[in-house]
Assembly symmetry: C2
Homo-oligomer: 339 residues x 2
Amino acid sequence: MVPQVRPTQASLAAALGVSRQTVSNVINSPGLVRPATRKRVEDAIKASGYRPQIAGRALRTHRSGAIGMRLHPVVDGVNGEVLDRFFHAVTETAQARGYRINLFTAGDAETEVAQLTDMFHQGVIDGALLIDSRLRDPRPAGLAACGLPFVVFGRPWGDPGAAHSWVDVDGRAGVYRATQHLVAAGHRVGFIGWPSASAVGEDRRAGWLAAGGDEADQYLTEDTTRDGLGGAQVLRARGVTAVVCVSDGLALGAVQAFAGRAQGGELPVIGFDNTPVARALGLSSVSQPVEAAAALILRSLLDAVEQREAPPPSGVLLVPTLELRQWEPIAAYPNGEEQ
Amino acid sequence: MVPQVRPTQASLAAALGVSRQTVSNVINSPGLVRPATRKRVEDAIKASGYRPQIAGRALRTHRSGAIGMRLHPVVDGVNGEVLDRFFHAVTETAQARGYRINLFTAGDAETEVAQLTDMFHQGVIDGALLIDSRLRDPRPAGLAACGLPFVVFGRPWGDPGAAHSWVDVDGRAGVYRATQHLVAAGHRVGFIGWPSASAVGEDRRAGWLAAGGDEADQYLTEDTTRDGLGGAQVLRARGVTAVVCVSDGLALGAVQAFAGRAQGGELPVIGFDNTPVARALGLSSVSQPVEAAAALILRSLLDAVEQREAPPPSGVLLVPTLELRQWEPIAAYPNGEEQ
DNA sequence: TTGCCGTATTTGATCGATCAAATTGATTCT
DNA sequence: AGAATCAATTTGATCGATCAAATACGGCAA
């Protein structure tokens, strides 16, 4: 059925008695072709199973149709699934607009920039998507210098005048909501977070303070379950009756200290990132709208790529949602007797 | 410093007074070029920052230098990090051999085949890597039909005569070791697994049976923490003193029922996949050698791609390792008084 | 009828690389 | 010396598409 040698626009044109350019026009500018001719060509394309070779197109147009994205080292934490969801959303959105995602790894930010620059110069990618911005991030300047269009998932911490496009999730607003929810239930709400060197952690802590948190009721530590429990015990001893945590990993530990105090089926502990662990245990958590973020980022990036210029500098903050769950103490498993 | 217009082999050749082909040879077949000439060209390449355009190369060679890999929907379980590690390893290995990874999404196996076929015909990818094989998997036949070289991570369940290349992890052997370890400690070892419809689950269960497990001491259920606890309670009531679980998610639940019985700091519960949760809680777990698997798969795939033929049919089973950990009951957090 | 105009289609050139074959020049063999 | 051999380099053609400009053609006004 399918011919031995793959058809090309030229071979199709020859078979139909039209010119190469007409076939090309049917594909790229159908409006230029007379309907009758167009139909004939389209039918032939379908019948032959013709697919345009991107190499030929890329050579002429200087466009690859691909976006570069770094696959970050696996973080040794409970979360990580948030990134998975983000990757999935990005890939799907890109695909819907006819773009492909090119994955690569790099040990550090400098290598990342070097890799991206290289791929850009080789004509492998048309744009890049940066993840996980941090203080004094060298990447935006590096990429801007080589002319590669890019958008960052994460705001330019410490550089309010940054002249690039970014999208981020408003952790502060998310924690604010979570805290407010617990305060409304009459709680004295503590906060378990990361050391203040973490910009993301500071942002989330600010949300807790804004919603009425008392500096004395915070516990800043590493991101482990064990530390979550330790912090919760400390805070509880101080009179705190509920805690908001900067991550689900910490919340998982905190739950151990507060499980007994559940009110109306709701735990006085709220985590962050809405990971599978939170879902499995019935732990409330702040959920990042990563799908929306991916859509915004790609729109900005691809529009820029198609106009062959840098994305207009702009920042977008998305507000997370609060995922409330009923805590069903796992120790009292209902059907523990029968298989 | 960097010239306005990007240099090409032709422009470099003209500037050096050599021919285009000589520049090409310096890059692809340096052995053909006289050392003195080679040096001169190499220096010019470095000085100019020249990078070969893959589009030009691909057009001529009919090779894209990319491998297609589907990004699976995010699974709603505790694991998933295993896949992350695998992706990372694959990307890194591919990169080391000069290949790129092209990501895409698909709703089902048929769409996956259609996408891959398309990308292959468009010259976007040279080969594919399939993940997560299952019973009556339609993908191998589909890809073989269109001539796309591919290797599968996962054995051809239910089709021992499959004529393609695959690599898998010997879950049976892993569970066997885990069981044996507990048996050696004098335990009566139960098994908490998935319903027998799961080929992977059956394989792992076989390892438990082979190591002396008694059919009566098994509990098959869904993959949730809650079910893990339920199963453990049931089995404990039957006189089982330790359990091996088909996943860390189930093990996490089982721990709740067995935590009190820790012997010499080791829990009588062993999970599977060695996820972050297991690491965080000090739970022993069977660890899949995904990095080794990625390396083997890519070697087979890329060798085939470079010879423009299908990978020779072959199957490799890798033996997982048993990651033993000390259980430190989290309820007795040491410094719960001071921040 | 002639000339002009806009639509539909075609022709020629080009993107940047590699393949295949031809050429050059030095070396060896008879 | 002349032919044959081999290494180093060059030339011409080509991969498959798109851009830019040229041509064909029917309709319409002068």
